[in-house]
Symmetry: C2
Subunit: 405 residues, 2 copies
Amino acid sequence: MADPSTCRPLTRASVFEARELIKGLVHHTPTLTNATLDRIASTPAPAPTESELGNCEGESRKKPANPTMRLYFKCENLQRIGAFKIRGAMHAIERLKMEPGWEEGGGREKGVATHSSGNHAQALALAAQTNGIPAHIIMPSISAPPKIAGTKGYGANVVFSGSTSVEREAVLNEVIEKTGARFVPPYDHPDIVLGQGTLGLELLEDAHDIIAAAAGVESNAVPAADRALRAPATTRTLPESKKSNPHLDAVLAPCGGGGMLSGVALSCEGTGVRVFGCEPSFEGADDAKRGYESGKRVERVSSLTVADGLRTPLGKVPWDIIYERRLVAGFYSVGEDEIIAALKLAYERFKLVIEPSAAVPLAVALFNEDFRSMVEREGGEDGWDVGIVFSGGNVSLSALGKLFA
Amino acid sequence: MADPSTCRPLTRASVFEARELIKGLVHHTPTLTNATLDRIASTPAPAPTESELGNCEGESRKKPANPTMRLYFKCENLQRIGAFKIRGAMHAIERLKMEPGWEEGGGREKGVATHSSGNHAQALALAAQTNGIPAHIIMPSISAPPKIAGTKGYGANVVFSGSTSVEREAVLNEVIEKTGARFVPPYDHPDIVLGQGTLGLELLEDAHDIIAAAAGVESNAVPAADRALRAPATTRTLPESKKSNPHLDAVLAPCGGGGMLSGVALSCEGTGVRVFGCEPSFEGADDAKRGYESGKRVERVSSLTVADGLRTPLGKVPWDIIYERRLVAGFYSVGEDEIIAALKLAYERFKLVIEPSAAVPLAVALFNEDFRSMVEREGGEDGWDVGIVFSGGNVSLSALGKLFA
């Protein structure tokens, strides 16, 4: 990892620079829309049944929110390695190559290292392989065999460890000592944040094009595949206000360690687009929300939420962007059932394979009454155009089988 | 259904006419590519193990084929109602509206009718609803509740019957007698064939654009989403021969009743693009292949293949196009394991939800040694550009769960 002191400042301009650096190395993934999901998002949730209400008489009189939403899905499940993580990993290595003395000091031969059992492992392995440098990936020995095979498939040297973070870090340190490899952390570093943020730029631009085309405003042509996935033009009516100024009102992104959320927040800085973090509430996985609301970062999380990519506490670098600089406008959380319901809708109605973590922002848009009331209140009749980050699609089919069976 | 004597001739020009008629009523679905599936298709299948070989000593010396293939996926799983069937249903109703005397005879009030427990039921229901005419759909009373709900959701009048074809037809005839509704069959009619064929035109054109862009030839811009789903340009090398003449060499389409396959064959007539039918071999579901090879259409099939959309025998109208006019160049079949393996690859590597029937042509490209040897032989070093029809994505998640668990 590049020494943080040599990093680019954490600004929107630096996200544009990052995009230039990783151009051609990662996919510009499509931004897609779906008429059925728009309709569900713009329909009040069914009234709770008597038994669900229990004794909450006060609640029973509360009408469900009735917002209008048009959703724009940033399909990072279609990204290389099946998740946005390749953006940060590619960017980290590009920056490393620019670090004075790295190449001369044998950095290329020493390679890079990380500990991960998730998407970051494969991302760093592929980024290193692309650059012809070795990658040492520390994985818990209990990792699922397909993940180990996937990481090895990108030519990485997989080193096994115990599964606690103490055990993993001990092995990582050993490997680094022995090889001289540079540590590339999964989220808590400016280069990673800036790399992940590049998806935000694409989402803003592509959503703009889609909105402009629907409004009949002159714009770049809407990609054919986007056209394809929208209902015939007649079914989507756009408010007058959008015709003069086609833009997203908000972006909902999942938040685990916060590298991607904070990068997306940077990509929207100064644009007027509000960015919200989305988390599972199960067993305290909504650490970023709790930290944001109490003013103190929560440093430990121990949750077995189905959204397994979001079990991590928020990192320090993301926290500064999200909280100190207030570039994230707030957090919303959803329950396990809501995540699974959103996941099923993505499969059944969108025909897209996403992982449970990626379903969390869609669950917020469809089921979180606080968020939905806010959109109803602020968006009024015109409603909101909301970007949704489908962060990844790496899910074990057997785990999926169990969820759906 | 329009009286066949008033139908347009079964030619490529009529497919273009059909496309004009249903424009704006159906999606122009994307044609996508996938570097990983290209690589798997262009790698010899692993040598069979000793135990698989058994005593077939002659076989053991046969080297697996080593073709080069670049695949272009026509994503009808992203079509309205989740399958290509909406094309035929919309076209059939457009043609009905043009039939002299239909409107004056109260045709609009009498509506349309069919028997189906599959995608055709929802397709006709939506097409009728779009036109504000009633649809009577006869479904076996044992149909899966989500299918019944889906069909009712499009405003159709669902009438239950027994599950044998005799019982279904008896109820259909009763309903038609009572209501005066016009029968719209699922595949065995020129209007349906021409409607389904429109997907072939889109596939030819979009694949041409993608090939031309990869070859650096002047062409329409490649849709951004297509760009997105291809590996960075450097990983795909195109032979010189394609640079002067970017085109598909072949299209692989699934074959059940043959309405879509024959329509696609018409859409390719005179273009030099060879069209092949793909079927499951399980329990004789390869009826079209057997009929094509013996010169006699097989009229009855009773197979419980996992590819449940392909359990139907080939219809008469499709047969004439496919066999008598030889617009289909041949058939290939695959086993249940191969279909499931292809299905899993679509989920794991493409992140697309497809139904088992839609996985059959991909299974042929990846696993059928007869097809692969032919491509190796005829495509040589340049290889072939092969269109693959992903025909639909309507799969019950619980059925999927069982397949993957």
